[in-house]
């Protein structure tokens, strides 16, 4: 099943969003979730909408400018994923409690579950050369924790999404094993921040990604985080490491020194590569994005 899935997912255009073709759901025959039109289901939510502030549009335009030479790429994002994907996930979690079909037909990707302008307004960009993913985020009024500021869980949600995307796109299929966040300052409600994540290293099946959350002008550091993930593939595969040149950094650490991790990337046999490619696309689709 996975092989046929890969074949289908690799079909040009299948994984591209509004900028690149039909959405992942365009070819699904499943019933659409209740009360939403086909147009809404297929909408790429990582594009500007009327709720975006001037700051949000400015930083979006900056990243689109960076994308012109192909170094960065905008990642489409959708609210819905096909319930067919559930069958594929079950391969990895066969003992999990089954979910009712009715609930699955209603399911939405959590960061896209609130209506336009009220919750998470965000767009992600990925740099394949530097193994970095950036997320621009405008946190709406429904994300409040203490009055006037974003809830810690809302920040954690977007950190988890961004570093997860970075890990998937640079290191293959992943599941989060650990998420460690240092909250330095509360983020004002409705302000715009940039989440910068970078794959630090891959050790066997473990992936290490770090990130920070900064103001648009980069003068305020709101949060820092690390995430350890694991690759749910076969154990004991052959791996060796490559030390890659380090591109960019995530600012300075607590001691004021530049954060530059050693970057290694596992190489694997052809079967594992095929499996990883499958999972990589699969998990990326789960996250509501596209490898384009």
């Amino acid at each position: 099943m996975l092989r046929s899935c890969v074949s289908r997912l690799r079909t040009p255009g299948v994984l591209c969003g509004r900028l690149g073709g039909a959405s992942p759901l365009a070819r699904d025959s499943r019933p659409l979730p209740r009360s939403y039109s086909s147009e809404v289901v297929h909408m790429d939510h990582s594009l500007p909408n009327p709720s975006w502030s001037k700051d949000m549009r400015l930083i979006f335009d900056q990243f689109m400018k960076k994308s012109e030479d192909g170094s960065w790429k905008r990642l489409p994002s959708y609210k819905f994923t096909s319930s067919k994907r559930l069958e594929e996930v079950k391969i990895f979690f066969p003992d999990a409690k089954p979910v009712k079909e009715e609930s699955l037909s209603q399911a939405r990707l959590f960061p896209r579950s609130l209506e336009e302008g009220l919750g998470f307004e965000y767009a992600m960009f990925h740099n394949h050369v530097e193994n970095r993913t950036a997320c621009i985020l405008q946190g709406g009024p429904y994300l409040q924790g203490i009055p006037g500021f974003l809830h810690g869980g809302a920040i954690a949600t977007m950190i988890d999404s961004t570093v997860g995307m970075c890990a998937v796109l640079t290191g293959g299929a992943v599941m989060t094993a650990n998420l460690n966040i240092n909250f330095r300052r509360p983020i004002p409600l409705c302000s715009v921040v940039v989440i910068n994540s970078q794959l630090d290293k891959i050790e066997g099946r473990k992936l290490f990604v770090s990130c920070n959350v900064q103001s648009v002008d980069e003068k305020t550091l709101y949060s820092e985080a690390t995430k350890h993930s694991w690759n749910p593939g076969p154990a004991g595969r052959n791996t060796k490491s490559l030390v890659l040149p380090q591109h960019g950094n995530l600012g300075k650490d607590r001691n004021g020194e530049e954060r530059k991790g050693t970057q290694t990337q596992g190489l694997s046999n052809s079967r594992w590569q095929q499996s990883t490619r499958t999972l990589r696309i699969f998990f990326f689709r789960c996250l509501g994005g596209s490898v384009g």
Copy 2:
């Protein structure tokens, strides 16, 4: 201002929810958020509703049974907090970017931002004697991460809320400094889990709370987490420690040993106590609850 606030907050009934009297917002004169009736604004969302599953109602009833002798207490929970609270928060973050009045009038507590049955359905209970807070959670279909399972950010949100509540109710006013989560298994969408948190220790202005996320039958451990918080009060206060008897535990650690932290509690001078009491109530209200 804080003193008058304390006086008002201590008024019997002001902080009690549906079970104990009027909600915190009942006496506010501010305009109600748009498109919501007064009844909705004042609704205590920690009570059963038609979307709750059989498992959710069963575990809720178990905790209500435990509450009959006063050892446990259900914590009311509301969607909205008064924008007046923003002025009080500004005392602690005077340099924060101001938020537009229009956005504040729309603001909702993040874990209560989704409609009934679609997002976080939860109720919290607190045990003042054992310094523990438990949260029963039914994660709705709008909280999806990978198909069929809760998003890691949704889990982080409820962990942050629960351990935050535990810290506030047992240790005074707090702001999260660090949140460290180990994800052991994905949580099936629409299933019911119990988040158990416990204050481990207080060291000066630092509070350490740990928690786990388990299935209702306690047979499946989904996640474990620790949270370090700090108390935004005056530095250099007089403190001494008391070692308290340990009540309960959070299961077993990785080595199969019972997790039992040493519990210390700071004692402080009367001015600090008054300030802490103010902040404790204040932050609890920010979190959408009531000290009852």
